[in-house]
């Protein structure tokens, strides 16, 4: 049996949970899911449609919102009772956090960001996982009676298998210390750049922008194309743009139809965030810049003189 920790936010299932179910079904047909807290029952139908036949629902009157250590206790309760061969979660901040608590309490190894998982024997597994933001792949062997692993986003396609799931409710054991850290409040993001991850078009600028002023032109172009503005870390580190707009390994990962990189050299850590773009255009004075090897189209020119002309022509084309 494989157990999936399925995260949800106030009853809304994390869509990545269904990808995790699919990863689990690749290991064993018998996949159980665990949901914790009030409103979680809303997730049962979605989990059932992906092939989960048993959903464990942990509650406790003291848990009213996401509480990492209580969720870890819920995982451990099911683990101790049913002895799954593996416990999987999405590689999100919450998924990693809950499994890290489980791993710490049970003194088990935890492998993160897995794109392939194979159970090779009793107590051994082989995984392929992403390093350096996906620029490097690691193959490792893990020795543990229960494999704890987080699954890389979009590494497994959701598979459907309609049917019903039986819900088994249980009480999550908690102490005061377990309840100490939980969500106490939610606030709207105080930053712009929202929607970057979903944008169909991303217009990014790097050090070649020479300062915050020229970003006005990127905003104009993004407006015409219905896209969002992005940037490199050099730009956020200089305070030219907010961090929410940073694309890359320690920024946002984007997967637009079109990504244009103005004055960005193409360091691996930047490419980690934009390599899923369907079409990449590089505008750079240096025809040998590493970004060129990732580009579908290249313009070797000064961005400061190109942009005004491009904006004018794009606007004219749109009006026509």
């Amino acid at each position: 049996m494989i157990l999936v920790y399925a995260d949800h936010d106030r009853g809304e299932l994390d869509p990545l949970a269904l990808q995790v179910v699919s990863a689990a079904r690749g290991l064993d047909a018998d996949v159980h899911a665990l949901i914790v807290g009030p409103n979680a029952e809303k997730c049962v139908d979605d989990l059932a449609s992906a092939g989960v036949r048993t959903v464990h629902h942990g509650t406790n009157a003291a848990i009213d919102d996401y509480t990492p250590r209580a969720n870890a206790n819920a995982v451990i309760t099911v683990m101790d009772r049913l002895e799954p061969r593996a416990v999987l979660a999405a590689g999100t901040p919450r998924g990693s956090e809950v499994l890290a608590h489980v791993a710490s309490i049970k003194d088990l190894p935890l492998v993160t960001e897995c794109s392939e998982i194979a159970l090779t024997g009793s107590g051994t597994a082989e995984v392929t996982r992403a390093r350096w933001g996906g620029n490097l792949l690691e193959r490792s062997e893990v020795s543990a009676d229960v494999l704890l692993a987080t699954v890389q986003a979009h590494a497994f396609a959701v598979s459907e298998d309609a049917g019903d799931a039986q819900v088994e409710a249980f009480e999550v054991p908690v102490t005061d210390a377990d309840l100490e850290v939980s969500i106490v409040e939610r606030t709207g993001a105080a930053e712009t750049g929202v929607g970057l991850a979903e944008a169909k078009v991303v217009i990014s600028g790097g050090r070649g922008m020479d300062g915050p002023e020229a970003f006005g032109m990127l905003e104009e172009l993004a407006d015409i194309l219905g896209g969002a503005v992005g940037c490199s870390r050099v730009v956020t580190a200089a305070g030219w743009r907010p961090h929410a707009e940073q694309v890359g390994q320690t920024g946002t990962k984007v997967a637009p139809d079109l990504y244009i990189a103005f004055g960005i050299s193409g360091a691996t850590q930047h490419i980690a965030g934009c390599k899923s773009a369907k079409t990449l255009i590089a505008v750079n004075t240096d025809g040998q810049a590493p970004i060129m090897t990732h580009a579908d189209y290249a313009v070797v020119d000064n961005l400061h003189t190109l942009l005004p002309v491009l904006i004018e022509k794009a606007r004219a084309a749109q009006g026509a």
């Binding site: 710490s104 992403a130 933001g133 409040e185 313009v299 794009a314």
Partner: protein, 252 residues
């Protein structure tokens, strides 16, 4: 307030990753070394808290000869002292690393009010050292934090999730793992660099448990050049770009 920040040394990757012949490590022969933005932000946060509340900033780094370079860089922006846990490599099993770091923290004279780490390491992204350390030391932990204020012995921590921020409150002494974007790390000043030379680094040896995750090999996916089509320059390029935009349907 006494703060401890865990920093790790990473090779500065350029545009391509070269592996050693046995495929078990990155070939660092021609590479410089650096920190991760997450950890740079952690040090900056610690120095800002010291400026606001007083106290000390201690760095902990586990790795081989050479980590001193990254330690001195962070001394130059305001950290006071460091503990260097000597080990053969920085590629350490996360369970064993968290235990060795925990041992060093417990053995130290300072009872740290706050321990900061990156949310995940740049190379391994194990995303667990902070949580393991918190359990090891019996402290509460908040992870992947992008906003933090401290008042009355409580750290108010914000985590960015999509368009929202989740707020957690964590009573000190605590462990907090942070993300790039928490702040804008400052550049070292010349006087900062001069002071950095004299700040103390205590060397300790770490006791490493046998790893339960065994590396079998690394592969750097070969990036074949997409063979970019050259669209020229100037007006000609602008026209060509508009055509491409129309072709892929982002401009009607």
């Amino acid at each position: 307030m006494d703060i401890c920040v865990c920093i790790k040394r990473y090779p500065s990757l350029g545009s391509a990753i070269m592996l050693t012949d046995d495929g078990m490590a990155i070939d660092t022969d021609k590479l410089g070394f650096t920190l991760s933005p997450h950890e740079e932000c952690a040090v900056e946060a610690a120095v800002q808290l010291k400026e606001e509340h007083g106290g000390t900033v201690t760095l902990i780094s586990m790795g081989p000869e050479g980590v001193e370079e990254q330690i001195r860089e962070q001394f130059a922006i305001g950290a006071d002292r460091a503990i260097w846990i000597r080990s053969d490599s920085t590629d350490i099993d996360p369970q064993a690393a968290a235990k060795a770091i925990g041992d060093a923290i417990e053995a130290d004279e300072t009872a740290f009010d706050l321990i900061l780490l990156g949310s995940e390491s740049a190379d391994n992204a194990n995303a667990q050292t902070g949580v393991r350390l918190a359990h090891r030391l019996g402290r509460p932990v908040a992870t992947a934090i992008k906003g933090m204020t401290i008042a009355d012995g409580v750290a108010t921590c914000e985590r960015a999730v999509g368009t929202m921020r989740e707020v957690y409150r964590v009573r000190l002494p605590a462990v907090v793992t942070v993300k790039d974007g928490l702040n804008i790390p400052r550049y070292p000043s010349v006087p900062g660099r001069i002071k950095a030379r004299k700040k103390p680094i205590d060397e300790v040896t770490g006791d490493l448990d046998a790893p339960s995750i065994q590396l079998m090999g690394l592969t750097a996916p070969i990036r074949e050049s997409k063979g970019a089509q050259d669209l020229g320059a100037g007006d000609e390029a602008a026209d060509a770009l508009v055509d491409v935009m129309k072709q892929i349907g982002v401009l009607s």
